[in-house]
Amino acid sequence: MTTLVIAEHDNAQLKGATLNTVAAAAKLGGEVHVLVAGHNAKAVAEQAAGAAGVAKVLLADAPQLADGLAENLAAQVLAVASGYSHLLFPATASGKNVAPRVAAKLDVAQVSDIIGVESADTFQRPIYAGNAIATVQSGDAVKVITVRTTGFDAVAATGGSGAIETVEAVADSGKSSFVGREVAKSDRPELAGARVVVSGGRGLGSAENFKILDPLADKLGAALGASRAAVDAGYAPNDWQVGQTGKIVAPQLYVAVGISGAIQHLAGMKDSKVIVAINKDPEAPIFGVADYGLVGDLFQVVPELVASV
């Protein structure tokens, strides 16, 4: 039994989500291999080979793999899939995009977003925005799985000594092409893996007001997040959305500012270690999950908080 983890990267850096996925793979028992499919991605393969518990890294390097197009990436996974009992993807935008394509081609079910491994064929996954946890068993010969990164503590990024093997890259599908990317540059930590997250909701009132959270995030070394309401209203960019259909986070500290706490939002953050809620409405549902709640005007509370932490 050997598991193949499909690495998440940007051709230069291995993304942290890969290390959580390797941790899930390790729980299955058996060897763990990692596929790095990219372009000029040798450095990524080296990082993957250094991750604790990785026995082997397969590197497929070609221009048509540079941008993670689902058609090419799925074909690449299928090209190397034979012999593996489990194919694990991080449940990131990229993993969610590609994994079902692989599963359907193999004519097997996919188990999405697992948060626990009971055995090599039985897994736990949240359903209904995390309001229920299903334990599911797969009878398929190959298990295609996406891993919710907050469910598994990342393996160490160093200390491993996996071998790197170059594999042949698949041809371009010719059916899709990459046009461009608008990625916000930020010095803050990545939302999905941050130790502290400061999130704002509709209570902020405008994109301008949202900036009140910047000094707090700076002080705490936090990533910024947002509720769906704040994103829909244009106060914050889409990739900041925390919730059922956005990012799932579980930081050490989650500070919810002006967020009422719809179940869809709670689904994305309720596994945080410590939750702080600041809201002027004492009845807001967010107080039902917060360890520390402060009822008050966020425009007064937030600057005060910045001054005293």
């Binding site: 197009l69 689902a70 799925a74 935008a93 990229s94 969610k96 995009n97 590609v98 079902p100 394509r101 692989v102 599963a103 359907a104 097997v108 079910a109 996919q110 999405s112 977003d113 949240p126 359903i127 209904y128 925005a129 309001n131 946890i133 334990t135 599911v136 068993q137 009878g139 398929d140 059916k175 899709s176 092409s177 990459f178 046009v179 461009g180 990317r181 608008e182 990625v183 916000a184 769906r228 829909d232 960019p237 889409n238 990739d239 059922q244 259909t245 990012k247 500290l253 410590v274 702080v276 004492p282 107080f287 039902g288 917060a290 360890d291 520390y292 709640g293 908080l305 005293s308 932490v309």
Partner: protein, 249 residues
């Protein structure tokens, strides 16, 4: 160009579901059911394409129990021209739905299939990608902008860290994200009109598709409950708690 839009009947997003005491699933008896919100966005997008002259016909499809007819009527009230129900009382998992849709795509020959990215009940996020794979079509998931031009489609996608744009040759699969559009309010005259639109029913057997589930649900349990904490009086008290009790700052 024909556009096919699959729609799923799910527990309404405002309902907080309860896990059954025998752990066999969640209790959906007497619970409000609605169209999956992402599918509503898909129907709206297809309808707008039609209104702009980019689509000749919009066909809504639903797979499941007889009551999915209501979901199809809603899709037709938004703007779909007709509906197809693949009727079964059996449990349908994403791979099975993708196979049923593939068989309808082969029959109807649409150039574009627009699906919701995820259903809010099983939260699987699989069907669109699986359908793309089975048809060997290109895909653009998590779409926030869609533009159709001669023989191709350009889609802006919501990804980790921002947005990316891909161009696909048609036929293709698109799955919707929240910011693609805001579905219109369904008016009474349109609800009345929708009742007269054609709705065909087929079964998985008639389509020759094996729709048996592959995953076995062993049990469904409550998530670990999180207890409400305390309310603090002011910022000083909050900082004190964070520093000395929780030790996170």
């Amino acid at each position: 160009m024909k556009v096919l839009v699959p729609v799923k009947r799910v527990v309404d997003y405002n309902v907080k579901v309860r896990v059954k005491s025998d752990q066999t699933g969640v209790d959906i008896a007497n619970v409000k059911m609605s169209m999956n919100p992402f599918d509503e966005i898909a129907v709206e997008e297809a309808t707008r394409l039609k209104e702009k002259g980019g689509a000749a016909e919009v066909i809504a499809v639903s797979c499941g129990v007889a009551q999915c007819q209501e979901t199809l009527r809603t899709a037709m009230a938004i703007g779909a021209d007709r509906g197809i129900l693949v009727q079964t009382d059996a449990e349908l998992q994403p791979l099975a739905v993708a196979k049923l849709l593939k068989s309808l795509v082969e029959k109807e020959q649409p150039q574009l299939v627009i699906l919701g990215k995820q259903a809010i009940d099983d939260d699987a996020n699989q069907t669109g990608q699986m359908l793309a794979a089975l048809l060997d079509w290109p895909q653009a998931t998590f779409a926030s902008k869609v533009e159709v031009a001669d023989g191709s489609i350009t889609v802006t996608r919501e990804v980790d860290g921002g947005l990316e744009t891909v161009k696909l040759s048609l036929p293709a699969i698109v799955t919707t994200d929240l910011r693609l559009n805001e579905p219109r309010y369904v008016t009474l005259p349109n609800i009345m009109k929708a009742k007269k639109k054609p709705l065909d029913t087929v079964t998985p057997e008639e389509l020759g598709v094996d729709a048996a589930p592959r995953l076995k649900t062993l049990k469904v349990t409550e998530p670990p409950a999180r207890k409400a904490g305390i309310k603090v009086a002011d910022v000083a008290a909050l900082v004190d708690k964070l520093k000395n009790e929780a030790k996170v700052v």
